[in-house]
Symmetry: C2
DNA sequence: TAGTGGTCTAGACCACAGA
DNA sequence: CTGTGGTCTAGACCACTAT
């Protein structure tokens, strides 16, 4: 990966934990031991362990050690920071993305204020998983950062295109999950099976320099929605 | 608070940011400057700033500085690590908690496996906000850690009781958000207004030593559910 | 080039768990 | 008491932004 020692150690340990080289409830080697193993300083080991803790692999307990947690590692944030393609792949699902709209539009007042731009790419896509259209995504991107979008790109992964081709670095997102009544577009482009409501995930995505870059509204069929979170109390 | 320098600095800076002493988009003083201001080392300042970043107050940009983010600071996780009482108070809502069941039960197989106990407190409570019963909470607690629960405690805040009276320290939770069809108990104890589904938040809450302690199923009326999240890409 | 944040070190002292 | 993780320091070097 990168040149960072602590990231490398994190990834090595995370891999070991995913491959269950250590059982749930057992303890990681102590920080001192890891320090020796990896020929590095204690603070560097601690950075790696803190990453593990933040990501739910371990729980550090003073005086005892680092306990391996039972984390079903299928968890991932719905939309926003992980692309739909990655998600579907991880879940081992067959999926089809269909592009319904792709053009440059003038933003509404709310969007103009959120994204601070006079021109935005608008992309409307439905997501079909196992033969059913269950997600309807509407994305708005800054034209400033994205000169060109094509149907081919939108059908594959816009995120991959942004990060790999354009070198944009996504950093963080504010997300809001609510439930709304299905609108006519939902009824047209999703297989709702008579369900009256949809789960709506709105995300405002930012780049590394903290500038707002993308707004997404993701509308999910109720019965296919699942959101898993790992909440750690602030210390 | 505690004796920790970096926590104190974090709290002081967070307070300043909440009181808008710095505007969105402006920059915090540099790490070197803060180091001098607070008579401390750079790593300590960096710990405080990392806390600010983790909690969405700032975004650190290499070569530039720490940029103040526009974070509506009303965000909080729904259920699990924040008590209903805290939540309602923050939102400035009138609320009533009604206890429908409170006793010791033998756990189901799933619960026994999750919590590893042969005896659990079961508490069923409805939450009324602004005159409407919109949330139905079912909690299971380890009797091992909680010798006594009374209706009075359950009507107020069980969390306050656990942390203040019993000295238990809650640490982290796994949460799952789904939508389910309303069941007869939902219809009886909630004002559903004909809505056919409820949002279900399941949480498995752990103590500081990583032992599972509490399982909660929180059922929310669709139209009153809102979940706000701040997602940071792993680095 | 000067100023910023990012990583890393080697050491110190403290708080807590367990034998 | 020993071993664990938690905090803090003073310094070094690197990578990036801006001028």
């Amino acid at each position: 990966m990168k040149n960072n020692k602590f990231q490398a150690i994190y990834q090595e340990l995370a891999k070991k934990l995913e491959e269950k080289e250590l059982r749930v409830g057992e303890k990681l080697p102590s920080e001192h031991e890891l320090m020796v193993q990896y020929h590095t300083s204690r603070e560097t080991i601690r950075k790696a362990l803190n990453l593990l803790a933040q990501n739910g692999y371990i729980q550090k307990v003073r005086g005892k050690g680092s306990i391996v947690l039972d984390r079903a590692r299928f968890d991932f944030p719905i939309s926003g920071l992980v692309s739909f393609k990655e998600l579907a792949k991880k879940m081992g699902k067959s999926w089809v993305t269909k592009v319904h709209e792709l053009n440059v539009v003038k933003p509404s007042d709310v969007l103009r204020e959120s994204l601070g731009a006079e021109e935005l790419w608008k992309v409307v896509r439905s997501r079909q998983v196992d033969g059913e259209r269950i997600i309807l995504d509407t994305d708005y991107f800054q034209t400033r950062h994205v000169p060109l979008l094509t149907e081919e790109i939108a059908e594959q992964s816009i995120y991959e295109h942004l990060e790999n081709e354009l070198g944009l670095s996504i950093s963080f997102a504010d997300k809001e999950v609510t439930v709304e009544e299905a609108n006519p577009l939902d009824r047209e482009l999703l297989d709702l099976n008579g369900l009256s409501h949809v789960v709506v995930v709105k995300s405002l995505v930012h780049l590394d320099d903290a500038s707002p870059f993308q707004f997404t509204e993701s509308r999910h069929r109720l019965d296919k929605f699942r959101f898993v979170d790992f909440a750690r109390r602030m210390k």
